[in-house]
């Protein structure tokens, strides 16, 4: 085991009998090629196509024609102007949450709490409308933004502080906090913040025009798109051109080297988690203020979880994030449009999970090489 190089003779020295047996049975074998670091870009497309094919089995088993299902999803999401704007509307929270988790994954902090941070931002934005109901538009929107950033940031810090001071696994903390945030949201919309004139609907009163994000023309596309694009540009700039971004990349590549270089890793984890939470918080704010115009039960169809896949499929790359968030926005809209065929919209969750499976498998497979035994 002291031999770091990868040769077949190493195996024989290690366990001659087994290796000899293996060699007799298989003329070739798979091994990881250490020189291949990145998988080619087309592997992503192959993985997505394979995932769609795998899920086609489930549709076929349910008596649906898979081709018809996918065609319906595609036409629903990408061919009509309504579908396209809806897809972009869904892509906004995905992009913001995806950016949030990407920045955490850069330094291997597994934030899966974007869902809760999204809810925290949405609650904070609604709080502005409850406690400062009569402010004009140019005061309300910035105030909402500040509140949402603070709330998302606090929710992110609640994950980071146990990690940095008590070595608590952030996966568990961030996920537990999702449930806490969603229960808090439910409490507010079923309890103190419920619209008194809302016929018992679990939601706050509708936002007034001065509490809603401006929209483009008569579509539902709102100012949140600009927030998201600015955030992407900032992310790309910070990661590539600033000292802080360099430190993040260094921590991600080699935490040990980063620590030896004098980088304060705990502080970085805290700052990154606050930023990650703040971005998801902005997503929550833009969703309540731009789309639903009220805080209500079930405000997110799992944006925070889909964002994890958005980030992975993009390999944390800013341009990739834009493309993948539009694709997954389309997947959500397509999931709604197949409801007319009697399929539940949760099929988009199933497709997302399958895509992630094939994606990570594809990434690894392209790092393997086939070599001749013996």
């Amino acid at each position: 085991m002291t031999e770091p190089t990868s040769t077949a003779s190493g195996a024989i020295a290690l366990d001659g009998e087994t290796a000899a047996r293996t060699r007799k049975r298989f003329p070739f074998r798979l091994e990881i090629d250490p020189s291949r670091k990145e998988s080619p870009w087309w592997m992503t497309i192959v993985s997505v196509v394979l995932a769609l094919l795998a899920c086609a089995i489930f549709f076929a088993a349910n008596g649906k024609n898979p081709w018809a299902v996918y065609e319906k999803m595609w036409t629903g999401a990408f061919t009509t102007s309504f579908g396209i704007t809806e897809t972009l509307v869904k892509a906004i929270p995905l992009l913001l949450c995806g950016l949030g988790v990407s920045i955490a994954y850069r330094i291997s902090v597994w934030n899966i709490g974007a869902e809760g941070q999204f809810a925290a931002g949405a609650i904070a934005a609604a709080a502005v409308t409850i406690y400062f109901p009569h402010l004009p538009l140019y005061a309300t929107i910035p105030l909402m933004l500040v509140f949402a950033i603070a709330a998302g940031g606090i929710w992110g810090a609640l994950t980071a502080l146990p990690k940095t001071y008590f070595q608590v696994n952030e996966l568990i903390t961030s996920l537990m906090l999702n449930y806490v945030a969603l229960l808090l949201l439910d409490y507010l919309v079923f309890g103190p913040w419920k619209d008194p004139k809302g016929f018992n609907f679990p939601g706050t009163p509708m936002f007034t025009a001065s509490q809603s994000l401006p929209v483009l023309g008569d579509t539902r596309l709102h100012l949140g798109l600009i927030f998201a694009l600015i955030a992407v540009a900032l992310y790309a700039f910070v990661i590539r051109f600033t000292r802080w971004g360099y430190e993040l990349r260094l921590i991600g590549a080699n935490p040990e080297a980063a620590r030896n270089a004098g980088i304060h890793i705990k502080r970085h984890i805290l700052i990154v988690m606050i930023m990650s939470g703040a971005l998801a918080g902005v997503a929550g704010m833009s969703e309540v203020s731009g789309v639903t115009h009220r805080l209500m039960d079930g405000i997110s169809p799992g944006y925070g979880y889909t964002a994890i896949i958005v980030a992975w499929i993009a390999k944390l790359h800013p341009v990739g994030l834009v493309i993948s968030s539009v694709l997954f926005g389309g997947l959500i809209v397509g999931g709604y449009s197949v409801q007319t065929m009697g399929l539940p919209s949760s099929i988009s969750n199933m497709l997302q999970g399958a895509i992630l499976f094939f994606l990570i498998a594809g990434n690894m497979i392209s790092k393997f090489r086939l070599s001749r035994n013996g």
């Binding site: 008590f166 696994n169 996966l171 079923f190 979880y305």
Partner: protein, 309 residues
């Protein structure tokens, strides 16, 4: 029954699914593989149990189907992590997302249908008059007794058999285990598949015994609590039992407080298990700050013979 006894009884019934899932997780993590797909596996176990039981009415077939789906999903996870050596965390997340989506999809038609009592009770009538033991153990269902047996079996397997020794060697130091002649990859496959079966059974237990109606996302984070329980239990089956019942109690304590009539809104009471999970993990982190956590040393690292990278 007084309040404390009621609480213990409730802890036992809501702790049993957690116990199955934690035992499965311990078995998987002892072999050095991280399994974060517990939530998805439990949901798949629950929905398969619901569908099979509604259509066949046979408990044996139901459990068989649950074990089969657990094995199939466990095979997917082990193929990805052991053979392809993908990131174990991401593979587990994919399992959770996929399981959540697929269970909602295939369970659509049976949502809200109450499941008739499926699991027979083991009646120990001689315990009926005994104060605490009576209400606790006299009329437990079969799956709870199976979970007791599994705890003891897992403890004996891990700490008293030569295969258990191999398993511990494998989780701490795969190269050494390999030199000892243990088939590392095969053993890991076996552990992940067997553990995933147990996690699937956790979902089935939850559906058949604890809340007998299929609802989308019915596990509500219990799979993740089981992941946390593995850490509380320090990868030890006997501790897992006490941790699972403690969390079972936390799960029901809010409901019990509501019953005696308190002014706290139920939404806050429902937060208790999640917040307690975080607080207990923080306490453990503080107490064990200078000690090893007890986790298998090679947890999360794929093993590749003759290659290091």
């Amino acid at each position: 029954m007084d309040f404390i006894t009621q609480l213990l009884v409730a802890a036992l019934s809501s702790g049993t699914p957690l116990l199955f899932a934690t035992l499965g997780g311990i078995l998987i993590e002892r072999s050095g593989i991280i399994q974060l797909g517990a939530e998805g596996l439990m949901l798949m176990g629950a929905v398969v149990a619901a569908i099979t039981f509604i259509h066949t009415g046979s408990l044996g077939l139901t459990l068989l189907a649950v074990v089969a789906i657990g094995a199939a999903l466990g095979w997917v996870h082990s193929f990805l992590t052991v053979t392809l050596r993908t990131n174990q965390i991401v593979s587990g997340l994919a399992m959770t997302l996929f399981g959540t989506g697929l269970s909602a999809y295939i369970g659509k038609s049976i949502t809200g249908i109450p499941i008739p009592r499926a699991v027979p009770k083991v009646n120990l009538d001689f315990l009926d008059g005994v104060p605490v033991l009576g209400p606790l153990f006299a009329h437990l269902d079969l799956l709870t007794w199976i979970s007791f047996a599994l705890v003891i079996a897992a403890h004996l397997f891990i700490h008293r058999t030569s295969w258990g020794l191999h398993l511990r060697a494998l989780g701490d130091n795969p190269p050494t285990a390999d030199v000892m002649g243990i088939p590392v990859q095969l053993f890991r496959y076996g552990c992940v598949i067997a553990g995933s079966m147990l996690i699937g059974l956790a979902g089935a237990d939850m559906l058949l015994v604890y809340s007998p109606t299929w609802i989308e996302g019915m596990t509500a984070g219990r799979g993740w609590i089981a992941v946390a329980l593995i850490i509380f239990a320090r990868w030890n089956p006997l501790r897992a039992m006490f941790c699972a019942y403690f969390f079972g109690m936390m799960d029901t304590i809010g409901f019990k407080i509501q019953l005696i009539g308190s002014a706290i809104p139920s939404y806050f009471l429902k937060m208790i298990p999640y917040i307690v999970t975080i607080l207990v993990l923080m306490y453990l982190g503080y107490r064990n700050r200078n000690k090893p956590s007890g986790s298998p040393e090679a947890l999360g690292t794929p093993y590749i013979r003759e290659q290091r990278f």
